[in-house]
């Protein structure tokens, strides 16, 4: 269990996947704890377990063993509606490929999670959030296909922030962006951590790592190095 200052406590988490007749340990005995407002980078080569760890923290995967506590709640034990609520209100996901809903415009993409959580005046709040990440009112009416990669990722960040989550989980958020847009996204994420949000980024990008408060370096499913 964590103490009151710690938002996230990960205790000896293992995640195994079946590969043919054998099991592969994508995450193997990982433990750490994080306080609120930290900017965390998870580094490592492809297949080192970064994304799996991120999905475990976001309750998109369940650990094979071990526990993950967020705000003293055992996330790995959640199911059904509680699990949906956790994803809806506690965490916000940002993906490398943005994954905006193509049939919704920028504003509607941000409104969607707000509506799912039953939020009132969602449209106004969504518009404000989009403006905060640099998407003006005119562009808010555009569908994803008519936005640049950087703009789409900013909309995705706004969507992740829609329900004011405590944790932002970003999987290679600058992977598909040029350096200018990548820098802009990094700055936004860094700024979010300064607003008491815990931002955890799985990345190869050294620029992101250099800005992080904590860096976990992973190899073969294990954290081989922690830099604070």
């Amino acid at each position: 269990m964590n103490n009151d200052n710690e938002l996230i406590v990960v205790e000896n988490v293992v995640k195994k996947f079946k590969s043919g007749s054998a099991f592969v340990e994508a995450v193997n005995g990982v433990s750490f704890s994080l306080q609120r407002g930290k900017f965390v980078a998870i580094k490592g080569a492809s297949g080192s377990g970064k994304t799996t760890l991120l999905y475990l923290l976001g309750a998109l995967e369940k650990p094979s063993s071990g526990s993950i506590y967020v705000d003293n709640v055992n996330v790995s034990a959640l199911s059904g509606r509680e699990e949906n609520n956790y994803r809806l209100k506690k965490v916000g996901f940002i993906f490398q490929n943005y994954y905006l809903i193509p049939t919704l415009n920028a504003l509607e993409n941000v409104v969607l999670p707000m509506e799912l959580s039953g939020s009132r005046s969602a449209s106004k709040k969504a518009s404000e959030t989009l403006e905060k990440v640099g998407i003006d009112v005119k562009k808010q009416k555009r569908f994803p296909a008519r936005l640049s990669g950087g703009e789409q990722q900013r909309v995705a960040i706004a969507r992740a922030l829609a329900n004011d989550p405590a944790i932002i989980l970003a999987d290679e958020p600058t992977g598909n962006l040029d350096s200018k847009n990548g820098k802009m996204i990094i700055n936004i994420l860094k700024a979010l951590s300064q607003e008491e949000k815990t931002v955890i980024v799985a990345t190869h990008d050294e620029k992101i790592a250099s800005l992080a408060d904590v860096i976990f370096e992973m190899k073969d499913g294990k954290i081989i190095k922690t830099i604070k």
């Binding site: 799996t52 509606r81 994803r87 996901f93 993906f95 809903i101 919704l104 799912l116």
Partner: protein, 438 residues
Amino acid sequence: MLSLIKNSLRSLMRSPLRTIILVLILAVSSALSLVMLTVGGAYQNQLSSISSQIGNTVTVRPAGFFGAMGGGEPLDEAKVNEINKIEHVVSVSKSIQTRYSGDALVSAIQPGTLGNQTGQLPEGTNNERIIQGIAQRVGIQVMGYDTSTLKPELISGVSMEVIDGRNFVLGEDDANIAILGKDLATANNIEVGSKININDTDIEIVGIFDSGQRFGNNAVLMPIKTTERIFNITGVTEAAVTVDDANNEDAVVAEIRKIFDENTADITTSSSTYQRISGSLTNAINTSRLAMIISFIAAGIIIMFSIILMIRQKIKEVGVLKAIGASNFRIGFQFVLETFFMSILGTLIGAILTFPLAQRISSLLFSAGSMISNGNLMGGQGFMARGGFTRIGSINIAVSPEIFVYAILFAIAIAIVSSIIPMFYISKVKPAEVLRYE
């Protein structure tokens, strides 16, 4: 909800070709279903109509007697009254049929070849009268009815309308009154209020009727007791027994047989005729129902696979929705809405197609030449026989505006039925798996 609807419609517009193809498939299959529904309904109505025409009737006549032909003894009226007490009997209509061949009335029908073949010439007709040039005429049918019978059936399937004067009223069972067929009245220059003398009794004509055919219009209708008295008949010559349901006819016949044995009465039922007629129509109804079910299932399967295909194409979208906290129901409902909109459009087009297609498909299902024996054939010199034909092939298929209500119900049903498996499929999607490989 509004955003869900908007998103569903946009999703459909995003792949216009797929949407158009699916809508067309739905239009064809729903048109087929709705046509079959309409045709089946029309056949069912036709069957009901035939059933009501034939009626749930058991006819009891003296053994050896038929219409005004044959012989035998009248049925004992007291025993006929006992039929009323049998379970499932709704009513018993008694009547007496006889012939009048006296001089007070001249028949309106010439015997012709058919009348001469039957040998049913009036009494007193002989070679001498022919030599004297006196015209031979067909005997006049006299029918005695309960005055409670408002529209007496002159012969099976032939009813009458009073076109001048009045009908009998209750309490006139023994009154010296009569209603004449219009041809008979014309042939004898008789009007309402005239009196004629039949078998030494003065009878007042209170009405003139039209039956729509020559044989019926050559008849005299009298109250039953009056007929018994004037023609010196004790008992009745026909008891038409109405049964509550055709399925109970056999049970009623069995009970009647306990009252009248085979040597006393002949009993005929309408059910055998009905079954003969209904057989082919029932087959057509079953065929139309089967076609309706098959086309519905086919539409459901096609739509179901198209939704699964749609979900597979949008699998990442499903994963993202799950990742941001959308429930399985919320995600599935969007696909149901998409299906529903396609179904609504398809079935409404299908409903419109029903109007020109229903009659044509009905003609294919049921040959217009189908004729089934059941009716009545009569004429000539007092000749009456059963065994005519009813044409049931040319059924008019009227498509009612209600078809649009059925179309909407069809659309809802298709959307629900075809969404069950896709909903299950959505519930099994693991967001981590579908989002892992970017």
